[in-house]
Point group: C2
């Protein structure tokens, strides 16, 4: 027995040493930055249905090849009603004329050519909007003025994006002829934050746009004067009834148990209005680099590491398509993770609650601690939009929570550019994911599936 304990302890010691080595090499590895620089520079914006997304697919395959990934695969799926932005503008028309900074929300119907022009009704919150009487917004452009504060982090974003998703139909049901949203984001510049919305079946489909925070401030100040405030909103867009999107993946096969898969990735698609550096070229770069570093440990890990670059996160589609296609493989996917909050530093790791009793995970916690990462006692109830359908099918998830304070300044804006990425923080993310992938792939850790 003592001999067995000693040999286990020594195996654990070797795994820990190897994981620490992976972590340290990651901190000095230029690969993630190079990938990030290339995806933002050589590909640029890459919404589903655009030439950019085709370039992104080709970029991913070429990079996987150069980096020695195996089983490189392009899994195409049909994307219905891909939404592509056209020219957009908004003007204050009373009490005087001036341009306003707006962005149409994804899935919004276009306006007629001359736009929709009306007096606005400023509404403080989604709850307030829901509580308004029937007909109370008749003929108005409803402006949902809820403020998202970066101190609220991701929870604040979720609350704000609820308004973005559902606001138009709720306002339309009360008579509104247009819907605008104070951006679900924290840019202090005249940059609206876009994002998807959806229409309920029961209400007229009215045009929906986000307005930049300083311009929402202006509307607020004007309304406070007790005068009629009017604006004109012009939105154009087209829907591709059916287009193709792709999840692109590559693996480093495990040396002993290649069918057991540790799955990680970021999403290749982006909004149209920037090079999508934080959202999500960073996640693509972090997970590709981390997988390679983990696979290049002194000994190739026991289980397979698979990187999936998701093809339709922003307007959804990739998660469903992947889970559907890999239905028969679910039991072999040991764990799944996604990197999709830019390059904000990782400060917390969460996974299934019961997993923490496994000594391998205690080893991982020890390896991550010098990076400033704590173990989250709360179970990960979400790992990322693209792995949500895997999670629902029973795949355990792991989540590295990131500092969100700067991310939401650029998220879904035209300002999501390479110069806003902190390279040291990017490297810290790579180190965390690389060590994590190594420990999950090398150890026999078995994660109970999501337990609460």
């Amino acid at each position: 027995l003592l001999a067995f304990v000693a040999s286990t302890a020594s195996a654990d010691g070797a795994m820990r040493a190897a994981a620490e080595d992976v972590r340290e090499r990651a901190l000095a590895d230029p690969l993630a930055w190079e990938l990030l620089e290339s995806l933002t520079t050589d590909v640029g914006p890459r919404p589903v249905g655009s030439a950019g997304m085709e370039r992104a697919k080709e970029w991913a395959v070429a990079r996987f090849q150069v980096l020695g990934f195996e089983n490189i695969s392009i899994e195409s799926f049909e994307k219905k009603d891909a939404w592509l932005r056209g020219p957009e503008s908004a003007q204050l028309t009373a009490p005087y004329s001036r341009e306003l900074a707006v962005l149409g929300l994804g899935n919004s119907v276009p306006t007629i050519q001359e736009g929709v022009e009306a007096e606005i009704a400023l509404i403080g919150s989604l709850a307030e909007l829901r509580a308004m009487p029937e007909g109370s917004l008749a003929g108005r452009i409803a402006v949902l003025n809820w403020r998202f504060d970066s101190a609220q982090g991701e929870a604040g974003y979720r609350a704000a994006s609820d308004g973005r998703r559902d606001g138009a139909s709720i306002a339309a049901a009360k008579g509104a002829i247009g819907f605008m949203l104070r951006s679900a984001g924290t840019s202090s510049g005249r940059r609206a934050h876009t994002g998807v919305m959806r229409y309920a079946e029961s209400a007229p489909r009215i045009p929906a746009a986000a307005i930049a925070n300083p311009d929402a401030d202006l509307l607020e100040r004007l309304v406070a004067r007790g005068i009629a405030v009017r604006l004109r909103l012009r939105l154009a867009s087209r829907l591709l009834p059916s287009t193709t999107a792709w999840n692109v993946s590559g693996v480093f096969r495990g040396r002993e148990d290649p069918d057991a898969v540790i799955l990680v990735g970021g999403h290749l698609d982006s909004w149209d209005n920037s090079e999508g550096a934080a959202d999500d070229a960073a996640g693509v770069a972090i997970t590709m680099a981390a997988a390679r570093l983990a696979a290049q440990a002194r000994v190739r890990p026991r289980r397979t590491i698979r990187v999936v670059l998701w093809g339709s996160e922003e307007t959804s589609g990739s998660s469903e398509a992947y889970a559907e296609r890999h239905r028969d493989e679910i039991a072999h996917i040991v764990i799944a993770g996604e990197s999709d909050l830019g390059a904000g530093r990782v400060y917390k790791i969460a996974t299934s609650k019961c997993a923490w009793s496994d000594p391998h995970l205690q080893t991982l916690t020890a390896v991550l601690a010098p990076l400033g990462i704590q173990q989250d006692p709360v179970a990960a109830d979400f790992g990322g939009v693209d792995i949500e359908h895997l999670r629902k099918a029973g795949v355990p998830v792991v989540r590295l929570s990131q500092d969100p304070r700067e991310y939401f300044d650029v998220h879904h804006t035209a300002d999501d550019t390479l110069n806003r990425i902190n390279r040291r923080a990017l490297d810290q993310n790579v180190a965390a994911w690389a060590a994590l992938l190594y420990v999950f792939a090398e150890s026999g850790v078995d994660i109970c599936s999501h337990d609460d």
Copy 2:
């Protein structure tokens, strides 16, 4: 003699106490913020030749009246070739297509409807551009890629704006068919910084625009790959051959020597793409509030305080018009100052070198010290664009240097909005100007005219 010294000392003590009282009241006075909020909200963008500038003129007169200013005067002057922006866009066309964030430079000719499309030539500095051989830019869009760093402060801005002003004609003389400039500003967002340019007589007039810093970064990264980088620039604008602009002024008459004038102000006009909060609603608000606070000292000061709200700073005109109209009054203008760097904290006071031997100015220095303001031993060789023609005519100037580090993030961009103004710093400016105006108006200080 002793009695005289004692009475002088006591008079000085009273003046200092009164100046300190003005300073302290200023720090608690909401007026400047209210004026700033109103000009940005009720008037909005106000370029010369626009309806906004008409509103600004009316706003100024109404506010002067409400605040008890006397001799309110609207001095109109002719502004020739007022430049008004039309629709503008730019696209990268090779190696792939993507939108670029640009702004035409003031005075630029428009492009033809379909724009000018060409390979770019990236040039590191104005000196390098000047040194290029004849014909070396034939058929190219020249992109001047000089970086302005906020650590360089106002001197850096002047260097960058030299390129903005002169770059197009220098490039045109070497064959360029278009000119672009890395923005003479420090926004990290996809916001180009506009500003005026001018054409030399000797070269073809080519279209000229500023490009946002992250987009200049992109061009730089693409050019570093050794590939042909092409773009299309579309600019529209119109010139009003002759329009009217106005310098609007009001005074608080001196109780003893009303013909002696302490002149101060900010400029009412702004660029078209924002509400011009920092440039220069702040200066308007600061100087109006400061003048009123100084005039409302326990005893109205001896000399007249005049606030001039300048009507055409951005594309010039107000300075010449005012100096010309007030030619016969030059000798009576004791000193002139301008507030035109937003609400960045004041850290330094400069005026004519010889003035510092006057004990009244030592008193002023002592009153300003608690605000964190030092005396600059170097003579003020510049007081502001709008008082430059007064200075050239012999009027001494005083300058309060301001922290420029945030100003150039928004300067001449669409992001120059109220939410970027720090109210505490605004109040510190008001306190500094109010104490300064009071001491200059109350004391007999006589500033030797510019001495070096």
